[in-house]
């Protein structure tokens, strides 16, 4: 029972981060039918920039409380990643608009390698510990433990996701985004500058990615140039699980995947008689991906692919 509740809580933390990243994949896919595989690297850059800013401030003897340092770090990381997302779209995807589907996909993969290499140049190949700016106070709920930081992560993720959904459903920009995703040429006829909407989509998705990157790094107390790959792939899985292109689906898929993965990690030992340890938890995400692609490629909340214009 303890393990169960504990793994649900862990899954919720992990899952809300996946959901935040999955939204970036799904928004871009919804607007332009493209999987931005470089999104994981944006997440990584968000974590790295935050760490650099905090370390830099500490190095120059700025004496501020930990949470304030973190806030400054995030305040730099978000616009940095927004700029990165903007540049990624302009440089890598816009020139390929209207090309065959395979071309931007290959570019996306190439771009993600380029960004990783750049990260190595700037931040090196080693794991970078997250500066000790936060206390990891532990709260116990019915025998399961969770840190205050993790509670904060869950609450933040939900607040951001609700904010995004409200923006998309209720504002003029959100309406233009939905119109563009359904029919870009008619949206243009209505006066929507489709290029601006696409840029906005990348920029917003990247801001969410930056925040997610900081969350991952604080939660695991470290960052690494390669961290974006695995977390990106899992968030992508979450987006597919929920139905790619569907915002609610990305949230549901992220949380579900986080929970599946945590429960899997918690029980894999006893399930396999100790043969596989919890370090095999990654296989669950990809089993989910494979099963979804086989049995329900449109995902939980997505419509059939054929319905897309």
């Amino acid at each position: 029972m303890d393990t169960f509740l504990q793994q649900i809580l862990n899954g919720l933390v992990l899952g809300s981060i996946y959901a935040l990243i999955a939204l970036g994949y799904t928004m871009v896919y919804g607007i332009m039918g493209l999987i931005n595989f470089a999104h994981g690297e944006v997440v990584m850059v968000g974590a790295m920039v935050t760490i650099s800013v905090i370390s830099g401030l500490t190095h120059f003897g700025v004496n501020l409380p930990g949470p304030v340092l973190l806030l400054i770090g995030v305040a730099v990381a978000i616009p940095s990643c927004m700029l990165l997302g903007f540049v990624i779209e302009r440089v890598a995807y816009r020139p390929l608009r209207g090309a065959q589907r395979l071309a931007p996909l290959i570019t996306a993969i190439g771009l993600s390698i380029v960004l990783q290499q750049l990260a190595i140049l700037i931040w090196g190949r080693n794991y970078i510990p997250f500066p000790p700016v936060l206390d990891h106070d532990v709260v116990t709920i019915f025998g399961a433990s969770i840190t205050t930081l993790q509670i904060f992560i869950i609450v933040m993720c939900f607040a951001i996701m609700v904010g995004l959904l409200v923006m998309v459903e209720r504002t003029r920009l959100g309406r233009a985004m939905r119109a563009t995703s359904q029919n870009p040429s008619v949206a243009g006829l209505m006066g929507v500058n489709v290029n601006t909407i696409i840029s906005a989509t990348f920029v917003i998705g990247s801001a969410l990615g930056a925040i997610a990157g900081v969350m991952v790094a604080t939660n695991y107390d470290q960052a690494h140039y390669y961290m974006g790959f695995m977390i990106g792939l899992k968030a992508f899985t979450a987006a597919v699980l929920g139905g790619i292109g569907n915002l609610g689906g990305a949230v549901a898929g992220g949380i579900l995947l986080g929970i599946i993965e945590s429960l899997g990690a918690g029980y894999i030992g006893s399930l396999t008689g100790g043969f596989l340890g919890s370090n095999y938890q990654d296989i669950f995400a990809f089993m989910v991906l494979i099963l979804v692609l086989i049995f329900r490629p449109s995902g939980l909340l997505g419509e059939k692919m054929a319905d897309r214009a």
Partner: protein, 236 residues
């Protein structure tokens, strides 16, 4: 003075010329129709007028200004609106959201709401279905959304591409009544239609397009009586 003046307009897709140098004009307040067989180049002409397709030659002067330099999303700000072929409804937006998209470039919120109410008076069915997803409407209702949406941009020139396509005769009748009502309010329109008889009956002037060229033009009444038009387009 004409609102729209087109001279020697040419449009190509790849190497294939779809519009081969046409001239026409539309005066303020006029309802003009452009008829022609499938593939004649009517849709291409309209799309070029609103900047969705780039021309390869010729001039388009709208409201006294050449339109060549206008980015495609800015045409609506200059007063050009189009009800596209196949209606171009945003199926997963509600009826109301579709209409609001028509007013996307406007910021006079109060006035927009007043005009939306007028659209709903014109199309009471849409009022009942305000919050319904537009994709779930019937073809005729979707056409009403497309027309209401275009009208909400307050166009100086409204282009209609086959508004009667795929609709039952009774709905076609209704759509044409609305076209006449809109025309009576002083909105200038260019109507592309397969249903040449109805189109000529409601219009003041007409142009006939064949394989990328304008082959006939004149008063709508004259064209209705013309032997060649009757044989080719009116099925007499």
């Amino acid at each position: 003075m004409s609102l729209l003046q087109v001279k020697n307009l040419q449009v190509s897709y790849g190497g294939i010329q779809a519009v081969k140098g046409i001239d026409f004009s539309i005066g303020k307040g006029e309802l003009v129709t452009l008829i022609g067989a499938n593939g004649a180049g009517k849709t291409t002409t309209l799309r070029t007028l609103v900047g969705m397709v780039k021309r390869s030659g010729g001039s388009i002067e709208f409201d006294g200004k050449e339109t060549a330099g206008i980015p495609s999303h800015a045409f609506v700000r200059h007063g050009l609106a189009m009800v596209p072929e196949g209606r171009g409804i945003f199926g997963k937006l509600t009826v109301e959201e579709n209409l609001l998209m028509g007013a996307y470039v406007r910021d006079d919120k109060a006035q927009i709401l007043v005009e939306m109410e007028r659209i709903y008076q014109l199309f009471p069915r849409l009022k009942e279905r305000q919050r319904q997803l537009a994709g779930t409407l019937s073809g005729g209702e979707q056409q009403m959304v497309a027309m209401g949406r275009a009208m909400l941009s307050k166009p100086k020139l409204l282009l209609l591409d086959e508004p009667s396509m795929g609709l039952a005769p009774i709905i076609v009748q209704k759509i044409f009544e609305i076209i006449q009502m809109v025309a009576a309010e002083g909105v200038t329109m260019l109507l592309v239609e397969q249903n040449a008889r109805l189109a000529l009956e409601v219009s003041q002037r007409g142009y006939v397009m064949e394989s990328g060229r304008i082959t006939m033009e004149g008063e709508a009444k004259t064209l209705l009586d013309d032997e060649r038009v009757r044989n080719a387009y009116l099925g007499d």
